[in-house]
Amino acid sequence: MRTLHPFHGGVHPPEHKIQSTQLPIAVAPLPSRLIVPLRQHNGNPAKPVVAAGDHALKGQMIGAPEGFISAAVHAPTSGRVVAIEMNPAPHPSGLPDLSVVMEADGEDRWIEHQPFDYRAIAPADLRNRLRDAGVVGLGGAVFPSHIKLDATSLETLVINAAECEPYITCDDMLMRERAAEVVQGIAIMQHAMGAREVLIGIEDNKPQAIAAMQAACQGSGFEVVVVPTLYPSGSAKQLIKLLTGKEVPSGALGPQVGVQCFNVATAYTIHRAVNHGEPVISRLVTLTGNMDEPRNYEVLIGTPIGELVKAARPRADTSGYLMGGPMMGLPLSDPGVPVVKATNCVIATSQTLFPPLPRAMPCIRCTRCAAACPADLQPQELFWFAKAKNFAKAQEYKLFDCIECGCCSYVCPSHIPLVQFYRFAKSEIQAQEREKKASERARERHEFRELRLEREKQEKAAKHAAKAAQVAAKPDEEGGDEAAAAAKKAAIQAAIERAKAKKAAVAPQNVEDLPPEAQARIDEIDERRAQARETAEQSVAVQKTDEGQGAQP
């Protein structure tokens, strides 16, 4: 028995997992129309590589990865690409996203694909192939897996099969029915990272999944670790603490303490991608809640949720749908949004199932939230600061360490929507930061312009003086003019290039959470700019000195 290292806090809401585990996984019906967003992962959205009117085969790449943090997107079935347009996507912002809209031809014909031997190729090649297969973390964060697999000489590979959110059972059913394939996927991960040990964390409310995984792990050296049912055990950092006792530092990632964490469903897709050559075009989705036949379905990415839920027969009094669990889920404003790689569960809601919370009362500082917080925060203080818009204090009290798990809101006797306050404060702070950076850039630009104008003025004056002197000395020489024209041309060319470089440097960019490579690039550019500025300043200084000397008789 492995020693567990419990994290602080956590809650145990009613599980509601029995309903959707009564029936085996079924294949969802093929929809006539699929909407495949090109942004289904963290990082840059994929770049469309098909055009409206094209015919695509099942598994054909329709969106190519763009840049380092990105992953490919594939046609979920064979059919015609109807349009590449903005469509509502299941995203907290509610903003539409660029999507490939497909019309299924009903044949569901696969593109040619074949497995490959991951042991025979270089790790970098394996990672590229996974990126091109669209493998991303299916636990909900959808971070491109190939980047996480880059960790070397890893001590522990943690497989997150805790599935701590109420209602959701897709990982549970996956392990019950496809444990052997999951284990093959884990073996590929272990191979890629050279992990010394592999721990598979499963909550003790899934005895069948535990048994299936234990059987499948026989002889592999992987260890199934049964953890107590406590929300949010499935949060990566909390699970790493629970299984290994290691605490991932704030703002850092697992590999810093020698641990990398992957969702169990991701392991399964890696297995499909490597041992079958199949990209990620479907995933398991739990349909549950206010439905007559709650069940897990294998669903094609891009299936409109409104159409999908019909399979589980939502009841007449269904008031809406929630993507994800009741603790962290996202209410869907539009049932037309498609299933994406992050869609693990769709819960039909009703007044009786999820009655509206009572009116929020003032905070009485009972500290139940602090007792429940798995990040050891003081939610009552963060609430106070967020409410007062005292963002500096909120940051001082480590607002950005909040994982928005909702434990605080869940236990609050005053029913204050605490998490909403933190989301608000975070977005306000981020907006302020962006504004600050923008104004700093504007100031820099302005100062640089002033310097340039000054330098140009002086250059002009110097040139005039030289020309005057030249004219005075050799009135009929023409070569000087040509040289001056050439110099002028060169100066203009240089100015254009400077402007171009500057424009590229100040183009809006995502400067939060950059990977080290990108950060290095930015630093390099900044350095070049600083040098350019220095040169400009020096030349001005030199000119000034020259002028000073020139003024003397």
Binding site: P14, P326, G329, P358, M361, I364, A375, Q378, D401, V419
Partner: protein, 346 residues
């Protein structure tokens, strides 16, 4: 609708009702030892509290029903009624409650915003304004020389009329803490003083049993996770420790630590007053400091200060330090360097 879309059912009113329930055994003991007048006091305070609360909520345009039923005004009323003499005239109870709800609670912003414990502010206001009325404590039934009937008690509370053949003095007496304090000035020793019939095994006759029931009610609140152990434990430990030191130094002039734990407002204060969420620290370490501060201060006020009991003033004193205590006792956040951190950043 926003996540989380589920929540525990425990509301503020449930918490407050459990606090009231935890007080019931002690109230029953109170009635047994001192007569039913305390029930009238509690009712009076409750009605006054709810009426004041309703009036202020109306003025502040707050929804009446949810706030009146949150139970917070009732808790304040009960704690105040249990802190003042049970035979206090009706207006004393009403003035105290009014002060607590109007000044100490709503002028600071209402539920959740007050810096000082409303019941203790009400108590302190009465103590300063009407000191003589506040020292008329009823003697326990077993000791009262002339026993007043319920109607006689009511006549006194509402009309100020003492029964024809007896004076108020006949049924009131100094509390054990008061007796100890004044008698010590007469150069008597503690053992000598405690031979008086008002003292019993732990502290005062009757009062020690009531204190015991406060302790039981407090343990119930702890078991129900309404309060944490930090404040009561550090309060009682600090008072016991301080009293123990003085006692060891000179047992003839300082009562035993156990006496102090069961005398006056110690148990009520430790479990019901100091643990008030709004006016106590939120961090575990802060709670320990806060409780210990009250324990030490209350003892010092009792023994060296001008008042026989110091719990109310000690609570108010430490209430004022809560923001400071909170600010300096913030616990380590997950993933940040500090105690027991084995990550490699910072």
């Amino acid at each position: 609708m926003n996540s989380p879309v589920v929540a525990e059912k425990t509301g503020v009113n449930v918490i407050m009702l459990k606090v009231l329930a935890a007080l019931l055994p002690a109230v029953a003991a109170y009635v047994y030892f001192f007569g039913p007048a305390i029930l009238v006091s509690i009712t009076l305070a409750s009605v006054a509290a709810l009426a004041t609360e309703a009036a202020v909520l109306h003025l502040r345009r707050y929804p009446l029903r949810v706030y009146l039923t949150d139970g917070s005004a009732l808790v304040t009323a009960w704690l105040l009624a249990l802190s003042i003499p049970p035979l206090a005239p009706w207006w004393l109870v009403v003035v105290g409650t009014l002060f607590a709800i109007l000044i100490a609670k709503h002028l600071y912003g209402g539920l959740g915003n007050n810096l000082f414990n409303p019941a203790m502010v009400g108590f302190a206001a009465l103590m300063i304004s009407f000191p003589s009325h506040m020292t008329h404590w009823t003697a326990p039934d077993v000791l009262a020389h002339s026993h007043w009937s319920f109607s006689q008690q009511m006549d006194f509370m509402f009309g100020g009329i003492s029964p024809a053949d007896s004076k108020l003095d006949a049924i009131t007496m100094a509390t054990p803490l008061d007796t100890l304090k004044t008698q010590l000035h007469l150069e008597r020793t503690v053992v000598d003083i405690q031979s008086s019939p008002i003292f019993s095994m732990l502290s005062g006759k009757g009062t020690e049993i009531i204190a015991l029931f406060y302790l039981l009610g407090g343990l119930y609140l702890w078991q129900q996770r309404i309060i944490s152990w930090h404040i009561p434990a550090s309060f009682l430990a600090a008072m016991f420790g301080t009293a123990g030191l003085f006692y060891l130094f000179d047992p003839a002039h300082y009562a035993s630590p156990l006496f102090h734990l069961f005398a006056g407002g110690t148990m009520l204060g430790a479990f019901f007053i100091a643990t008030d969420y709004v006016t106590s620290p939120t961090t575990p370490l802060g709670k320990l400091i806060f409780g210990a501060g009250i324990g030490v201060s209350a003892y010092i006020i009792r023994v060296l200060g001008g008042y026989p009991d110091g719990v109310a003033f000690a609570v108010l004193f430490l209430n004022s330090a809560v923001p400071l205590i909170d600010a300096y006792t913030q616990p380590r956040v997950f993933g940040h360097a500090g105690k027991w951190f084995d990550g490699r950043k910072e």
